[in-house]
Amino acid sequence: MRLRSPFVVPLAAAIAAYASAVATAEVLTIEQAQALSKETGRPMLVMAGSKT
């Protein structure tokens, strides 16, 4: 899933992306998650940890 711009995500694209975003949370970049959160109004639940 690729979003065109980190901060300007059309709502339809954001909505369409949401289902797959939930299922594949780890593939979202920070910018994508922020843009999705902004468009959908949903808060981000962030887990920060080591890659290893």
Binding site: L28, I30, E39, P43
Partner: protein, 323 residues
């Protein structure tokens, strides 16, 4: 905790209301993230909740286990504003687009009516979501409320000046357009009541209502409605019961490129009158309107009397123009 978020069905409905994100503390973005969102405690994992407007609601080392996790999610959802479903967000977007379109066409009545349909999702103007489109809907609605207040205030200002009819028309028009908005309903009803109590203004109300209805119809995009409006405006010109109303009707007809005298003649002759359902129709000439009844003369010379409120809105407008 990460695995439980992905697999525990009992908390799935809560988790689905978040945008999940994993940030690597040994990755290239960590420095920028950690600078922007400070956390408390030491060690990993670090758990954050970031509201859609970017406000950090939580940022601490350590995960949430057992019953603590659903409670944690519920607590932070409570502080995250209204969370709409995707379908609801699509509905809001559709309303915002329609309202913008109506405003671009200067059709405030339709814009207000459409904007108020959001009341099925919450309080219009106070939806309380941080979603971009919901915030836009709130701003749009608040702007409409402000426009309504300004329109009413402008009308009331005119009532104190020389052009009393313009003031009465303004109040009547504001009532029709913005009366559905709860924040304005009280002021609109109060302004209309004041008109009714004022001996100088009361006689102008009926003419203003007829003109407002005719102007609203004439401003419609649908040709049949616009034609009805033009007919009603022509009837007002023909009747010439109120000089100010006549002038406004004439100006609107000129703007629409309609020939007022010809149309007025047409109103005087036989036409098809319909009831509110559109089921019953009669070809007749308007004789007069009195005591809430319309007298219509058929081709065979017989005169029938029909209650004004049984006629279609457009025919009521035409009949009112003849009062």
């Amino acid at each position: 905790m990460q695995e439980r978020l992905n697999t525990d069905g009992s908390i799935a409905s809560l988790v689905a209301q978040f945008v999940p994100l994993k940030v690597e503390t040994d990755g290239p973005n960590w420095g920028q993230w950690a600078t922007k969102y400070r956390h408390e405690g030491a060690g990993i994992p670090i758990l954050y909740v970031i509201r859609a407007d970017g406000e950090k609601l939580y940022g601490q080392s350590g995960s949430k286990e057992g019953a603590e996790l659903p409670q944690f999610l519920i607590t932070h959802l409570r502080n995250s504003g209204t969370i709409f479903t995707n379908q609801q967000l699509a509905t809001i977007k559709s309303v915002v687009d329609d309202v913008n379109k109506s405003l671009a066409e200067k059709d405030e009545f339709t814009a207000v009516k459409r904007a108020y349909t959001l009341s099925k999702l919450g309080t219009p103007g106070k939806l309380g979501s941080y979603a971009t489109i919901a915030k836009e809907a709130d701003e749009q609605y608040i702007k409409l409320v402000e426009q309504g207040k300004a329109a009413l205030s402008d009308a009331q200002q005119k009532l104190t000046g020389d052009d009393k009819f313009a003031g009465v028309l303004g109040v009547v028009s504001a009532s029709r357009i913005y009366g559905v908005i709860p924040d304005l309903k009280k002021d609109v009803v109060s302004a209309e009541r004041d008109l009714g109590k004022n001996a100088e203004l009361k006689p102008l109300v009926q003419a203003a209502e007829s003109l407002d209805r005719a102007l609203a119809l004439a401003g419609q995009k649908m040709p049949t409605l616009q034609k009805q409006g033009i007919t009603a405006l022509a009837a007002i010109v023909s009747r010439n019961a109120n000089p100010a109303a006549t002038e406004i009707a004439k100006a609107k007809l000129a703007e629409l490129g309609a020939d007022a005298p010809a149309l007025a003649t047409a109103v005087k002759g036989p036409r098809t009158w319909s009831d509110a359902t559109g089921k019953f129709k009669i070809e007749a000439e308007l004789v007069r309107v009195a005591d809430g009844k319309v007298e219509l003369k058929k081709a065979d010379g017989t005169v029938v009397s029909v209650p004004l409120d049984k006629l279609s809105a457009a025919d009521q407008a035409v009949a009112n123009g003849k009062q």
